[in-house]
Amino acid sequence: MVWAQVAIYLLIVTCLGLGMSYTGYFFLAPSRPRALKQEAYECGVPQMAGSRERFSVRFYLIAIMFILFDIETVFLIPWAVLYKQLGVPGLVEIGIFFAVLGFGLAYLWRRGGLEWD
């Protein structure tokens, strides 16, 4: 019956938490809305434009390229840490990995993926 105790405990905690926050919200907190308080940045910096802007689809390519080199780093660090233990076979393996990645970059470059227009 351990789980029953846990369930009862969870119920009490939930009621207590919700009860306290809603009591505070409805009965205790002063509510004096003004135009300035309704703004996104309450510090007073005026908003430049709406937040639902459209991004150029070109950013997608940049994001993909970022992931490519991000993953490269993720694989590079364990190899660098264990460089001495891995020796020549490790060097060959990471070389193959780099060759494939470099091929990907060359493909992207050649196909005009690095040009903005």
């Binding site: 891995l86 076979p89 490790g90 091929f103 060359a106 493909y107 050649r110």
Partner: protein, 497 residues
Amino acid sequence: MTFTIYELAAMQPALLVMIAGLLAVGLDTFVPSKTRIAHAMLCGGGVIAAMAALGSQLYYQRTAIHAFGNMLVLDDMACFLSLAILAATGLVLISSDADTTRRNIGFGEYYGLIMIAASAMMMLVASNDFMTIFVNLEVLSLALYVLTGITRKNPRSNEASVKYLVSGAFATCFFLMGVAFLYGATGTFALSGIREALALGLDSSMARVGLGMVMVGFAFKIGAVPFHMWVPDVYEGAPTSTTAFMSVTVKAAGVGALIRVLLIAAPMRSDLWADLLWWMAVATMVVGNLMALQQTSVKRMLAFSSVAHTGYALVALATMRSTDETFVPEAAASALFYLLTYTFMTLGAFSFLIYMGHELPGKDGTSEWQDAETLSDLAGMADRRPWAAAMMGLFLLSLGGIPPTAGFLGKFYLFAGAIERGHVTIAVIGVMASLVSLYYYLRVIVWMYMKEPMIADEKPHPSVAVVIALAGLATLLIGVMPGAFIAAAEHSIAVLR
């Protein structure tokens, strides 16, 4: 952890295919004067080299190669399924000559992606560890997501690609969660390690959840009910050569990997998965066939029929535990054989739709390529193209299970085995379902032979005719002389350890 050159031999066939694919991409990008033929020759060379490597493994090496700490194993089952996948890939390479020219697909990417997907499938059927299974499942799926949407200007193709990607990612989450649960229950990713841990009688509720979720992942990839909803939309939206490719090879690879998981990781605990597979097989057969009945598009009908055929293959796996509680792993051989027969007849049927394609006038004066899809596209074409119609008739009869075709023997072997092991109910359901399927297969034949032609402007491509002829030959050959193929399938399962 290092490995020897000898271990590389385990992935040599898949590597050859992968290298050919990368070279095709490189050829497209870095060589100024390139032709489509050069790409096709390069990839075809890769396929033939990989077949030769597999052949030498089968006939000279003979013993299985365990590589990379037993993460990959090139045994007879891997060779059998790899050869089936390579045969399908080779045929698709020939027939996609038509698609790439007519639809103006960038052929470097197209051939490259096909080869990368094929290489991942070959490594998937050789995977002996959930890590390699997962990685290869993802590599092949990613390649297929792109291939589905490779006709970028076609909104249907794009829609199919996005649908496939989103639901595929969701299924992958299930698969990963299942692997995590199995790891939690057994402490290892290796299939043989999981078997040893399960034999100790560990926490079986966690293993049950894990195996169930892994099977959800597999069921999605092979398109089994209730995870089949993506199949008709994706198969219909994708360019037909891609549809042909993924409908046959993904099934071979996915069912192959599932067989390996069940037979190596959990053979002693068939109580954890046999009932689940039983219901899945029955639902897949019934739903696939009933939905196919209502389709007017032949392409969509073939998509639902491929769902139904997944169900037939699953019957073999679901009935591995016989009714007197003995476990018969040899039963999986009938699934392997069925996948082989399914490969050629489905590939042939889809290729026929490419063959009968025609040009549609587009909005801005240009013409757009359209493969034959509706029944009316095929109406009365038997008079104009008797050979092609006869071949399509052969494929449809084979899909429906009429002798002397490969499909009949596949189904016979499957259901006879199920009855032998005492599973009469599922065999009866299967036979009834394939009886229903005859209605919609024969309807296409009726339209081809007995209706007045409505459209007569198809522009057949000779390369597709080659594919149809080869697939028809294979369908007949397996139907008339099944002995060697059945023996190979049985041998593949017998040596699976």
